[in-house]
């Protein structure tokens, strides 16, 4: 450990202190990012196919269910085996590894719920139906 409080910190060459910040940020935030992609996909799909002059609206619920299964599956993977994602991103090199994993796991759980909720509408409501 580099900063054991009982130990005088050793001189570290600066460039070795470089952390894989961006890969680790992506690995930790993978689940909410998946939620973002899923949300954008289902919203744009419904929004554009209902309004745009291209037809194909009937396939919307199936596409939403498929997207939900894929995004939800990835989220679940991140929830249960996200540590491997972190390690691949270089987490073993940082002291915050365990903290990142703890945050990643809860984020994955929340995002999974949010993705399932977003997809649930497709099972109960038809495409391009207007209220009233």
């Amino acid at each position: 450990m580099r900063h054991a409080p009982t130990d005088r910190p050793q001189p570290t060459p600066v460039l070795d202190a470089r952390e894989p910040f961006i890969p680790l940020a992506f690995a930790t935030l993978a689940a909410p990012l998946l939620w973002t992609l899923h949300f954008a996909f289902v919203y744009l799909l419904e929004g554009f196919l209902c309004e745009a002059p291209v037809g194909a609206a009937a396939a919307i619920p199936e596409a939403i269910v498929a997207a939900t299964v894929i995004a939800g599956g990835l989220c679940a993977w991140n929830l249960f085996a996200g540590d491997a994602w972190l390690r691949r991103a270089g987490a073993s090199r940082v002291e915050s590894h365990l903290f990142l994993r703890a945050a990643q796991r809860v984020l994955a759980g929340l995002s999974l719920i949010a993705i399932l909720w977003s997809g649930a509408g497709a099972l109960m409501l038809g495409p391009c139906m207007f209220a009233y």
Partner: protein, 837 residues
């Protein structure tokens, strides 16, 4: 085991005097040049509080008008100006700036940094905000205030229905303040991630720092959407580019999508820092670490994400398909979970800690916040239920809901904060007696004002009406609300009296009066902490009571000023390992003048005095160049010993440098703006496919434009390559820089001419307006790159540019790469998409 300190030996006697001299705040007429975060932060908070009071007075006038039915205390038009200015001021001039102000004020102290990494940038943001905000607010006194509502929905705000300058004051004034907010956000992100004390890993960061990180990240994503909306509306008002006019293929709903894509996250942008403050105060009250720290961090981050899935929440009644509504309903539910986590985490912390006796004033505000915010959150879940929202939307039920959320979620924590953190900068504590009066008046007044409004709304009273008839039966409820609003005002007045009587800026107040555990309660002076502590826990002052004395004696990092100027330690973003020392600028006039001239330029444009506005723009740019000229100081003063065996450089370029980080975040802002443009382009196509053209300009012009844009990238790379070794120069460097800028600008000119010759006319229809809008967005970036290029060339001839000292060139390069990439993507969409149809 004996703990080893980074600088165990006694420090030289004159060291502290040197620090005091370097960090001294200018006095007298030079005071506006100050950049110290406590001075700037206090100015920022003071201004935000002033706008709160002013907008509150407007609210009182409105409540007085509504106290009785058929009242004619104010005219219809003035009332419309009142609620527009009240909402706009509270959101843009009070809530967001107040939170950024707390960030500027508290973050460096909590992170034991000497200052934020870009001190002049925060000072610029503050001055710009004060000048711009004051002028915007004063329009209410000259009957010039906008009257289109704080959301400024077109077509009402188009020239046809709002011919005066009033709407332009909103568009230019607020657009300008949004820029100030983004400047603050960049500062906060780099500050939180890069200027933490050694050992403060992400998992040990104070919750407020997490909250501010998420806050700033949300500003980066959300504000560009409203900036684009503002630009589109102003272009339509000034030059008839029909983005929102249905007759020419525009759509009024495009505004609502862009505005609420900003507007809903805005609520959380305001709430998160306040929740972070509560998470700091609760452990102090309970005398125990926060229970569920990682859960709270996750709650903040998750709120940051989910709050972007809520914008259609404000459009449930616009006739959107039911399935689309269901996604937003789902996200509205999802965003409620993190709030649940936070509330129960605070409860658990209170249960785990020592039993509290009598509540202090900050404690009262925290409990008051809980009561109000939980109620607001519950009505929030109600309006997330689409069918109920069809009734509640745009009625007084929403007025009640939003004030519960914002007053509970932001104003109460803010007042708690004033009482809690005042001792950090004041010689005297605020009065507990007056504090209690202030709390109870505000708390009772708050419920008396807003609780009845739930009923008023469901009884049919819509928002934004200046009068109602007696027959509606809303009179008594409104009278009750008006009475309550006077109680709130009395509470705020008591607070102001308390400030006048007891707040005295300066050091020497009680040190750590609440017995808190975080670093802002370390002994401090103008230079912040004497030395930057090595941290190994979340509440270092509780776990290591001797830390304060060690820090004061200079036994931790950077106890001196090795370069002889202002500096602070930069650490790595995850584990906070010391990386280098940044040399920061001190007081100066240039950034103040830049702010004043920028504000003047925007405001003169508003009243359409074009030539003086352009003069101000030039002066603003010159001021910025003068300001930045001193920033890229070079590596000569280093490397320096900061203690703990670290010998650190004082200059760094590349992906570890703080300038690189700031530029990348700026690119994210620009990227967010561009994504909003892509959305708008595609959205208008779905609404009005008939105006999308059958014929486009020839491929050849687009290909030529793309070739020029793409070749600007290698030219910029060669500019970097051509740099001469340290302290010498290569005559080719300026040529490469000029070439790369010329290629970039040339590419855009070719595309613009191609469109023009093809007959595209931005006033003809929404498609053509969108095509030219891409050029506007690319062009403004190219303009910035051109100025930066000229600046770098000047530095070359001044002998301030070489292979090592190249931060200015590096930033120019980065922005040029981004601009080229964005322009190419724009070309692809504009020329490719219609060919797919």
């Amino acid at each position: 085991m004996e703990r080893m300190l980074p600088n165990p030996e006694p420090r030289p006697a004159d060291e502290e005097a040197q620090l005091l001299k370097i960090w001294a705040t200018p006095t007298g007429w030079r005071w506006p040049t100050a950049v110290n975060n406590t001075v700037i932060g206090l100015l920022y908070i003071g201004a935000a509080l002033a706008f709160f009071v002013l907008a509150g007075i407007l609210a009182l006038v409105m409540r007085t008008q509504l106290a009785l039915p058929d009242s004619d205390l104010v005219t219809q038009d003035f009332y419309n100006q009142l609620f527009t200015t009240h909402g706009t001021t509270m959101m843009f001039l009070f809530a967001v700036p107040a939170m950024e102000a707390l960030g500027v004020m508290l973050l460096p102290q909590m992170l034991a940094a000497r200052d934020l990494p870009f001190p002049r940038l925060s000072a610029f943001a503050v001055w710009a905000y004060i000048v711009g905000g004051s002028v915007f607010f004063s329009t209410i006194f000259y009957d010039l205030a906008p009257s289109g509502g704080w959301f400024m929905n077109p077509p009402l705000t188009l020239t046809e229905f709002s011919p005066g300058d009033n709407a332009d004051f909103w568009l230019l004034g607020i657009g300008f303040i949004e820029i100030s907010a983004i400047a603050g956000a960049i500062e906060i992100i780099v500050g939180v991630l890069r200027t933490r004390p050694p050992g403060m890993t992400l998992g040990r960061m104070p919750i407020f720092a997490w909250a501010m990180l998420v806050f700033a990240g949300m500003i980066v994503v959300a504000f560009p959407a409203v900036i684009l909306a503002t630009m589109l509306l102003e272009l339509e008002r000034a030059f008839d580019w029909p983005f929102f006019s249905a007759a020419l293929g525009g759509d009024a709903l495009l505004w609502q999508h862009l505005f609420w894509f900003f507007g809903h996250p805005e609520v959380y942008i305001i709430f998160l820092p306040a929740a972070g403050l509560v998470s700091m105060i609760v452990p102090t009250i309970a005398r125990t670490p926060l229970i569920g720290y990682p859960l709270i961090v996750v709650a903040l981050v998750a709120t940051g994400f989910f709050s972007f899935g809520l914008w259609v929440h404000h459009m449930f009644t616009t006739g959107i398909p039911a399935l689309s509504l269901s996604f937003f309903s789902a996200a509205s539910m999802a965003v409620a979970i993190p709030s649940g986590i936070q509330v129960f985490s605070w409860i658990a912390t209170l249960a785990a800690g020592k039993r509290i006796g009598k509540l202090s004033v900050p404690g009262l505000f925290v409990f008051g916040m809980l009561a109000i915010f939980v109620m607001g959150g519950l009505t929030g879940v109600m309006v997330a239920m689409v069918p109920f929202d069809w009734q509640a939307h745009d009625s007084y039920f929403i007025v009640a809901h939003l004030h519960y959320v914002l007053i509970g979620g932001m104003v109460f924590p803010l007042f708690g904060t004033f009482y809690y953190w005042a001792p950090m900068v004041s010689r005297k504590l605020l009065s507990p007696t007056l504090g209690k009066w202030c709390f109870w008046l505000m708390f009772i007044g708050m419920h008396m004002t807003f609780l009845p409004m739930h009923v008023t709304g469901l009884a049919g009273m819509p928002r934004r009406i200046w009068t109602y008839s007696e027959a509606t039966g809303w009179g008594p409820l409104n009278l009750l609300s008006t009475g309550g609003s006077y109680l709130i005002a009395a509470g705020v007045a008591v607070f102001l009296v308390d400030l006048l009587r007891n707040f005295r800026f300066g050091r020497g107040g009680p040190e750590n009066p609440w017995g808190a555990g975080t670093l802002e309660w370390l002994p401090n002076d103008v230079y912040s902490t004497r030395s930057i502590p090595l941290i190994d826990s979340r509440e270092p002052l509780w776990d290591r009571p001797e830390l304060a004395d060690e820090v004061r004696a200079g036994h931790h990092f950077l106890p001196n000023a090795p370069t002889g100027g202002r500096e602070t330690l930069v650490t790595s973003p995850i584990d906070a390992v010391p990386q280098y020392v940044i040399q920061m600028p001190g007081p100066g006039w240039a950034h103040v003048l830049a702010a004043v001239f920028t504000a003047a330029c925007f405001l003169l444009l508003t009243v359409k005095v074009v030539v003086p506005a352009l003069v101000c723009a030039v002066l603003a740019i010159v001021s910025v160049l003068v300001w930045t000229w001193e920033l890229d100081k070079g590596p000569d003063a280093g490397p320096v010993d900061v203690g703990g065996g670290y010998r650190l450089p004082v200059y760094l370029t590349g992906p570890d440098g703080h300038g690189w980080w700031a530029m990348v975040i700026l690119m994210l802002v620009a990227g967010s703006l561009f994504v909003a443009w892509i959305f708008s382009y595609l959205y208008l196509w779905t609404v009005s496919p008939e105006v999308w053209p059958g014929a486009l300009p020839e491929w050849s012009t687009a290909a030529l434009s793309a070739l020029l844009l793409a070749s600007s990238v290698p030219a910029a790379m060669l500019a970097r390559r051509s740099l001469a070794p340290r302290a010498s120069r290569n005559a080719l460097t300026p040529l490469w820089i000029a070439l790369s800028v010329a290629l970039l600008v040339g590419g855009l000119v070719v595309e613009g001419l191609g469109q023009w010759q093809h007959g595209a006319d931005p006033t003809r229809n929404a498609h053509d307006a969108m095509v030219y809008m891409a050029l506007v967005l690319d062009g403004e970036l190219a303009f910035a790159v051109a100025i930066m290029g000229a600046y770098v060339i000047a530095r070359h001839y001044a002998g301030k540019l070489d292979r090592v000292r190249c931060a200015s060139l590096e930033n120019t390069q980065l922005l040029l790469y981004y601009t080229a990439a964005q322009s190419l993507l724009g070309l692809l969409l504009v020329h490719g998409f219609p060919r797919l149809l």
